[in-house]
C-alpha cells in the first residue's frame, strides 16, 4: 500500500521533543468547554467519568442498604412498609450489580488497559463514548423511576411469574428489564473494545506472555461478557414481549415455562459473578508486585487460573436452582463443577501468598486492602463450597446465610480489591497521592465493620431468618443479632465515608505524585501522572513482563509515527509484531446523538412495540452521521 503522497505529513522524527509533544497535544486534544466534553473520545476522560458515575451508584446503593439496616434493627419497625422495602432491596441489588460492580470494573479497564498495553487510545473510541452515555441513561432510568415510586420490586433477578404480566402489573418490572438492556449494551460495547485493544493494539514486543495480569483478567472477563450477556438480553427482551405483546415464553398455560427464566437468567448470572470477580483478582495480581517488591509468583499459573475460571463459570448456573426440583444427575454435575471452581481460586491465593512470603512487603493501604481481600474472600469461598452441596443449600436457600455469603464474595472479593486499586492508581489518574493515614483508617473501619455486619448474618440464616423480609416479630430469636448487624453497619458506613472524603480531599490537596510513585513495573507508570492526551509521546517497545523495572536506563521506544493525525500501532495477535500505523478516530458528537436516539427508542418501547420501528430511524441517522467520513487526516490511507 502506498502512503498518500498529497499532504505533506508530519512525523515525530522530524521535530524536536518539545515540538513533538506540542504537535501531539494539538492532534489528540479534547477542547475545553461543554461541547468538547460531550464530544470527547479520550479513553481516560471517559474512563474517569465511568469510574466516577459507578461510585455515585455505589453510594446511592449504600444509602438503600443503610435504610434496610435501620428498618431491620428492631422487630416490627415502621420506617419502611412492605412495598417500599421490596423496591429498596430490588433497587439495591440491581443497582449494585448492574450499575456499580460490572461497570466499575470495565471502567477501570477503559482507563488503564490502553495505558498498560502501551497504546494511545482504546479501540473504537466512539463506541466507548456511546457506551458511557447509554450506561448513564440506564442508571438514570432506574433511579428516576424509583423516585416516581415506579422502582422495580421483583428482586434483582426478577423471577417469573412474579415479574410476568399476571402478577407484575404496572411498569415496574419493565423498568428493571429495560435497565438491563441499557447496561448490557454498554457492557458488550466495552467488552468488544477491550478485546480488540488487547488483541491488536499492544505495544510492539508485548507478546502474550508479557501481558500484565490485570489485562489478561480483562480479556477473559470481556469474553465472559460476550458469551454471557446475550442470555440476559434475551431473557429481559422476552419478558418485555410477554408483558407487552402477549407472547407466552413464561406462561405454562400456553406451553411456556417459568424455569426457562431461571435457566436464562443464571446462564448469565453466574458468569456475571466472575465478570465482577476476575478483574478484581487481576488488580490484586498486578498491585501485589510493587508492594511485595518482587514479581508475582507463578505468572503462568495466575493466567491459567483466570482462563480456567472463565471456562468453568459457564458450568455452574444450575447451582442457583437446586431447590427448583431438577433431575438428580443434573444436580450432582453442577455440585461437582461448583466445587471444581475452588481449584483455580486456590491456585491464585497460593501464588499471592508465595509472592508476599518471598517479597519484602510494604504495608501501604493498597496492600492492606489486598490482605483484607484474601481473608474475606477465603471465608466467602468456604461458605460457597458449603452452599454448593444440595442438602445444605436446601436448608439455607433464601435465608440470610446466602445474603452473608454473596456479600463476602462481592464486597470481600471485588470491592476490597477495587478500593485498593483506587488508592493505587489514584496518583496516575489525578497526579496526586491519596492520604495514607486516612487510607489506613478507612481500611480498618471497612474491614472490621464489614465482618461485624456480615458475619452474624450467617448465624441469622442458620436460625432461619429469610432474606427479603421487611420486618419480623419480637418473639423470634433474631433481634439481638439484627441490632448488632445494624450497629456494625454504621462502622462500615463510616469507613466508606472516610474513603470518599479521602478521595475528594486528595483530588484537590493531595501531595503531588511522581510518575511512578510506587516503583511499579507496568507501562502505565512509564508516562506522566496524569498521562497526556496521547498517553505516550513515542510508543514503547516491550522486551519483558516488567518493562519499567527491566529498562531502568531508558525505556525502548519506536519512532516514525505521524503527529498530524491520530495514529497508533496495530500489532499481531500473538507476538505483537507491528503491522500498521492505524488512524484512531477523532472526537465526535455523534455517539451522543446515537445514545439519545437509542435511549428514546428503548424507553418508548416499554410502552409500545411500534417504538422499535419508528425509534430506529433516528438511531440509524445518528449511526450514519457517526461513520460517514469527514475528510480528516484520520480518513486517509
Amino acid at each position: 500500500m502506498k502512503p498518500s503522497a498529497a499532504a505533506p505529513e508530519q512525523r515525530d522524527i522530524d521535530v524536536e521533543r518539545a515540538q513533538l509533544t506540542d504537535a501531539l497535544a494539538e492532534t489528540w486534544k479534547t477542547p475545553s468547554g461543554l461541547w468538547g466534553a460531550l464530544a470527547t473520545v479520550d479513553h481516560k476522560i471517559i474512563g474517569r467519568r465511568y469510574i466516577f458515575t459507578a461510585f455515585v451508584f455505589l453510594a446511592l446503593g449504600g444509602v438503600l442498604a443503610a435504610l434496610m439496616r435501620i428498618q431491620l434493627a428492631q422487630p416490627e419497625a415502621r420506617l419502611l412498609g412492605p412495598d417500599r422495602y421490596n423496591q429498596i432491596f430490588t433497587m439495591h441489588g440491581a443497582n449494585m450489580m448492574f450499575l456499580f460492580a460490572v461497570p466499575v470494573m470495565e471502567a477501570v479497564a477503559v482507563y488503564l488497559a490502553p495505558l498498560m498495553v502501551g497504546t494511545r487510545n482504546i479501540a473504537f473510541p466512539r463506541l466507548n463514548a456511546f457506551s458511557y452515555w447509554i450506561y448513564l441513561a440506564g442508571g438514570a432510568l432506574l433511579w428516576i423511576a424509583f423516585a416516581l415510586d415506579m422502582g422495580p420490586d421483583v428482586g434483582w433477578f426478577a423471577y417469573v411469574p412474579l415479574s410476568g404480566p399476571q402478577y407484575g402489573t404496572g411498569k415496574r418490572a419493565d423498568i428493571w428489564a429495560q435497565m438491563i438492556t441499557f447496561t448490557e449494551i454498554s457492557a458488550l460495547a466495552v467488552a468488544v473494545e477491550l478485546v480488540v485493544t488487547i488483541f491488536k493494539q499492544r505495544a510492539p514486543g508485548m507478546t502474550l506472555d508479557r501481558i500484565p495480569v490485570f489485562v489478561w483478567a480483562m480479556l477473559v472477563t470481556s469474553f465472559l461478557v460476550i458469551m454471557a450477556m446475550p442470555a440476559i438480553v434475551l431473557a429481559s427482551t422476552s419478558l418485555i414481549l410477554d408483558r407487552l405483546v402477549g407472547t407466552h415464553f413464561y406462561n405454562p398455560a400456553e406451553g411456556g415455562d417459568v424455569l426457562l427464566w431461571q435457566h436464562l437468567f443464571w446462564f448469565f448470572g453466574h458468569p456475571e459473578v466472575y465478570i465482577i470477580f476476575l478483574p478484581a483478582v487481576g488488580m490484586v495480581s498486578t498491585m501485589i508486585e510493587p508492594f511485595a517488591r518482587r514479581p508475582a509468583f507463578g505468572y503462568l499459573g495466575l493466567v491459567m487460573a483466570l482462563i480456567a475460571t472463565g471456562i468453568l463459570a459457564f458450568g455452574l448456573w444450575v447451582h442457583h436452582m437446586f431447590v427448583a426440583g431438577l433431575p438428580r444427575l443434573g444436580d450432582s454435575f453442577f455440585t461437582a463443577s461448583s466445587m471444581a471452581i475452588a481449584i483455580p481460586a486456590g491456585i491464585q491465593i497460593f501464588c499471592w501468598l508465595a509472592t508476599l512470603w518471598d517479597g519484602r512487603p510494604v504495608f501501604k493501604s493498597p496492600l492492606l486492602f489486598i490482605i483484607g481481600f484474601i481473608i474475606t474472600f477465603v471465608i466467602g469461598g468456604l461458605t460457597g463450597v458449603m452452599v454448593a452441596s444440595v442438602p445444605f443449600d436446601t436448608q439455607v436457600h433464601d435465608t440470610y446465610f446466602v445474603v452473608a455469603h454473596f456479600h463476602y464474595v462481592l464486597i470481600g472479593g471485588a470491592v476490597f480489591p477495587l478500593l485498593g486499586a483506587v488508592h493505587y492508581w489514584f496518583p496516575k489518574l489525578t497526579g496526586r497521592m491519596m492520604s495514607e493515614a486516612l487510607g489506613q483508617w478507612s481500611f480498618w473501619l471497612i474491614f472490621v465493620g464489614f465482618n461485624a455486619t456480615f458475619f452474624p448474618m450467617h448465624i441469622l440464616g442458620l436460625e432461619g431468618m429469610p432474606r427479603r423480609i421487611y420486618t419480623y416479630q419480637p418473639d423470634l430469636p433474631w433481634h439481638g443479632l439484627n441490632l448488632f448487624v445494624s450497629v456494625s453497619a454504621v462502622i462500615l458506613t463510616a469507613g466508606f465515608l472516610l474513603f470518599f472524603i479521602n478521595v475528594m480531599r486528595s483530588a484537590r490537596f493531595g501531595e503531588i505524585a511522581l510518575d511512578n510513585p510506587w516503583d511499579a513495573p507496568t507501562l502505565e507508570w512509564a508516562t506522566t501522572s496524569p498521562p497526556p492526551s496521547y498517553n505516550f509521546a513515542m510508543i514503547p517497545v516491550v522486551g519483558s513482563l516488567h518493562p519499567v523495572w527491566d529498562d531502568r536506563d531508558g525505556l525502548p521506544v519506536a519512532d516514525g509515527l505521524r503527529t498530524d493525525r491520530r495514529e497508533l500501532i496495530v500489532t499481531t495477535l500473538a507476538t505483537a509484531e507491528p503491522q500498521a500505523r492505524e488512524a484512531s478516530p477523532q472526537n465526535s458528537i455523534w455517539p451522543l446523538w446515537a445514545a439519545i436516539a437509542t435511549t428514546i427508542m428503548l424507553i418508548w418501547s416499554i410502552f409500545s412495540p411500534w417504538a422499535v420501528v419508528w425509534g430506529s430511524i433516528p438511531a440509524a441517522v445518528a449511526l450514519i452521521g457517526w461513520f460517514w467520513p469527514k475528510g480528516t487526516p484520520e480518513d486517509e490511507s
Binding site: 510492539p204 407472547t247 508516562t527 517497545v541 525505556l555 525502548p556 519506536a558 516514525g560 507491528p578 492505524e582
Partner: protein, 200 residues
C-alpha cells in the same frame, strides 16, 4: 522516564487490511455476540419443544415454500458477495461499485419474500409459546438482514463519493461482505429449526 529509540515504524502502511484491521476484529466480536444470541434462541426453541407433548403446539407445521425460497436466495447471494469481497481485496473500485449496487438489490429480495414467510408460520406470536419462539427466531433474523442491508446501502453510496477510493473503504466492503456471510450462515440452523424440526 528516559527513552531510547530502538525501532522505526515509519515504513508501516497507514491502514491494515484483513486481520491487521481493528474493524475486522470488531466485526468478528459482534458476530460472536450475535451468534451466541441466535444459539440461545435456538436453545429456547429446543427447550420448549422438549416440554411440549405435541410440537408444534395446536398448529400444523409452517408452509415450506417462502422459507425455502429465502434460503435459496440467501445461498445464491453468497456468490456475488464473495466476488465483491475479492474485488475489494484487489482494490478494484469500478468492480466494487458494481458489486455494491448488486448486493444492495440482492439484499432486498429476501426481505420481500419474508413478508410472506411470517403468515406461512400459521401461528401468531400470542397464540402459544411455540408461536412466540418461532416469531422471535424469524424476527431476530429479519432484523439482521435489515441492519446489514442498511449498512450495504450506506456503503454503496459511500463508494460513489470521493471517499470511495481508499483502502479503508475497501476494508469496510470486505467487513460488510463478511457480515452478510454470517447472516446467511446463521439462517441455515434457524431454517432447519423452524421448518424441519417442526416436521419431525
Amino acid at each position: 522516564m528516559r527513552e531510547k529509540i530502538v525501532l522505526d515504524l515509519g515504513k508501516l502502511p497507514l491502514h491494515g487490511m484483513g486481520t491487521a484491521s481493528v474493524t475486522w476484529w470488531g466485526t468478528l466480536a459482534f458476530m460472536l455476540i450475535e451468534g451466541t444470541g441466535f444459539a440461545l434462541v435456538i436453545a429456547v426453541y429446543l427447550y420448549l419443544m422438549s416440554l411440549a407433548t405435541a410440537w408444534p403446539i395446536n398448529t400444523p407445521p409452517p408452509d415450506l415454500l417462502p422459507g425455502t425460497l429465502v434460503t435459496l436466495i440467501l445461498l445464491t447471494s453468497l456468490i456475488p458477495n464473495i466476488l465483491l469481497s475479492r474485488w475489494a481485496e484487489q482494490q478494484d473500485l469500478r468492480k466494487v461499485r458494481i458489486g455494491m449496487v448488486m448486493m444492495s438489490m440482492i439484499g432486498t429480495l429476501p426481505l420481500i419474500v419474508r413478508i410472506f414467510e411470517f403468515p406461512a408460520l400459521k401461528v401468531s406470536w400470542d397464540s402459544n409459546a411455540y408461536g412466540s419462539v418461532v416469531w422471535t427466531l424469524l424476527g431476530l433474523h429479519t432484523t439482521h438482514i435489515i441492519t446489514d442491508l442498511v449498512d450495504t446501502l450506506v456503503l454503496a453510496a459511500l463508494v460513489f463519493t470521493r471517499h470511495g477510493r481508499s483502502p479503508r473503504r475497501f476494508g469496510d466492503v470486505q467487513d460488510n461482505a463478511m457480515y452478510w456471510n454470517f447472516v446467511v450462515a446463521t439462517w441455515l440452523p434457524i431454517y432447519g429449526c423452524i421448518y424441519w424440526l417442526a416436521r419431525l
